[in-house]
Subunit: 352 residues, 2 copies
């Protein structure tokens, strides 16, 4: 039967914000999260500070969780997954599976917020030897170390003397099929570079990049301080391979500004891996019958200036399930998705 409940799938930043706002707009919300705790990637991947004012990720996510749950209208289902959706807009039957049992609930609208996963740097980019060399890590690995205030050379446990970030791993790369730019890796790498300089003041830090995409305020909030206050070295250059020599890493490539080949020794190399649709995003796109683009992200009607409405009536999407997104993108889109979902239900009620 027609329902004005909103089911939000995924309890990361976008899902929490969408759930909270749909609830504040008067809808009952079921928030479905496959992990055993809410917070999404910042919590699952143990992020250190956010690019927003360098706030601890756990504190910022904690506030979002509190805000959503504080509405008193959000039914949070942890360790749960949506396994089937039947019916149509205004009158969906959503099957939620948890620990082998299944429950069907009625919902009028659905908001998908299942996000991204980090590109697997073993996949077709093995020139960076992620699975071969312990001292080649990803920005996700770096977050965990920074979060614990233990940024060390993994193979020795010692503080590094030289750290290199390599940008665009799994992004802007036709060979692996990800031609898009992942938006946030420049900002996150620069933020991490600053944190490394703060935690290991003796370390020299280098960022090898194609273009530094510090759009908007990241330019003055992160990029300039990284260079001026924290002495991070930016090198426009392409890294072609990483070798191991005498227990340290050798980074080979071309310094395109200097127009010459380079070969530099590093203790830790951090791969700035890009975004790909999460398994949850791929699976939910199938369950809900949502068209995806060639990369597997869910399509919205961008041409019509709509960032959240899918082609399936009553189904909205927010955050990195639609493609590379920063936190502002995700939060804003979540608000828009909540507004459109609740507006749709209001309108449907009028029609009933």
């Amino acid at each position: 039967m027609p329902s004005d409940r909103v089911v939000v799938i995924g309890a990361g930043p976008a899902g929490l914000e969408a759930a909270r706002l749909a609830a504040e707009l008067g809808s009952d919300v079921t928030l479905v999260e496959k992990h055993d705790s809410p917070g999404g990637m910042p919590i699952q991947a143990n992020y250190a500070a956010l690019t927003h004012g360098f706030r601890p990720a756990a504190a910022a996510m904690g506030e979002m969780i509190e805000a959503a749950m504080g509405t008193g209208r959000v039914d949070l289902r942890l360790g749960s997954e949506v396994t089937a959706v039947e019916g149509s807009a205004g009158d969906f039957a959503v099957t939620i599976g948890s620990n082998g049992s299944a429950e069907r609930i009625d919902a009028g609208a659905i908001i998908l917020a299942t996000g991204f996963q980090h590109f697997d740097p073993g996949r077709e980019t093995q020139q960076y030897q992620y699975y071969e060399f312990p001292d080649v890590i990803t920005i996700a690995d770096a977050e965990s170390m920074l979060s614990a205030h233990e940024f060390v050379v993994p193979s020795t446990g010692q503080p590094p003397k030289r750290v290199a970030f390599i940008q665009c791993v799994g992004s802007r790369d036709r060979q692996i099929g990800n031609e898009y730019c992942s938006k946030v890796c420049c900002g996150i790498s620069s933020k991490q570079a600053i944190e490394v300089r703060q935690q290991v003041p003796d370390a020299r830090v280098f960022i090898f990049y194609i273009d530094m995409r510090m759009y908007g305020y990241w330019e003055n909030e992160i990029y300039w301080p990284a260079q001026e206050q924290h002495k991070v070295n930016y090198v426009k250059g392409i890294v072609t391979e990483i070798l191991s020599k005498g227990g340290r890493l050798v980074v080979r490539g071309e310094d395109t500004t200097m127009g010459r080949p380079m070969e530099v020794t590093m203790d830790v190399v951090v791969l700035a891996v890009g975004m790909e649709p999460s398994q949850g995003t791929r699976r939910m796109a199938e369950v809900l019958g949502l068209p995806t683009n060639k990369y597997g992200f869910v399509e919205t009607d961008h041409d019509r200036l709509d960032t959240v409405t899918t082609t399936v009536p009553g189904v909205y999407v927010a955050g990195a399930a639609t493609g590379p997104s920063d936190l502002d993108d995700s939060i804003s889109a979540a608000g828009a998705a909540a507004a459109k979902a609740v507006a749709f239900l209001r309108n449907a009620e009028v029609l009933v």
Copy 2:
């Protein structure tokens, strides 16, 4: 007396979207626009195509206007300005001036969507001679010519043979006080470069840049096609001055990839001017008592992962009034602002 009306200030993309969604969520809306027609910068500045699928800007804005007005709950006040705001959240008295007369209306919440203005390239960047040489134009001027399908050399009326875009005019520039990146100029310049190549197939087109910030899908939707299908030439280089020689323009600077000085002749030079807060944004920040950052943009609580809530209860902001924004940013934030404004009013009603 307490009101559940929402006043939206500015009828550009963000204002139209916010008005429409607040209306669809059940609020009566007064939409105040100082110009004599709605649509905001895309209409005022006569934009050609949007970066979204190269759709004609007028058509896309027309749809947004229709959607907002189609709700039947949006009272559009053209040629009008908010001149004073009294009272507080839930109970504002908003004075709207129009043609010398003034009217006070009650409102529960206010959404500011007064946007940006293009950086004035005469201001402290006179090395580019915008006001001296007729063939030095801005991306805003170029939009108008492309919109009319008359992309010509202004001084001769003839089709150009060589066109140069210069990026970051009024952005990423400490000397003029705008350290931020304006986000959209790379995308818009590249879109225009494609349009020039389509409308004037004999023209060679060059883009001089520091970093090409084609974040997200712009990489594959605009940047790669610009280079591969439309043969736009990207040159990482800094332009230091523009001279006039024999009726043509001479662009001087440094090609930083080649590491050598350059001096090239052009027929038209397009300055990719960045975003600054509009006069309306500055004025409304004063009227509403909203804190602004050092650039004059309205501040929101970014650290707390809120893109639209200002420090004044009941007052929200969306779009480029908060800083450089692309259309997706503006549309998403507008949805979030509508959701938060209406949620606030719902909550206030409960308290009354």
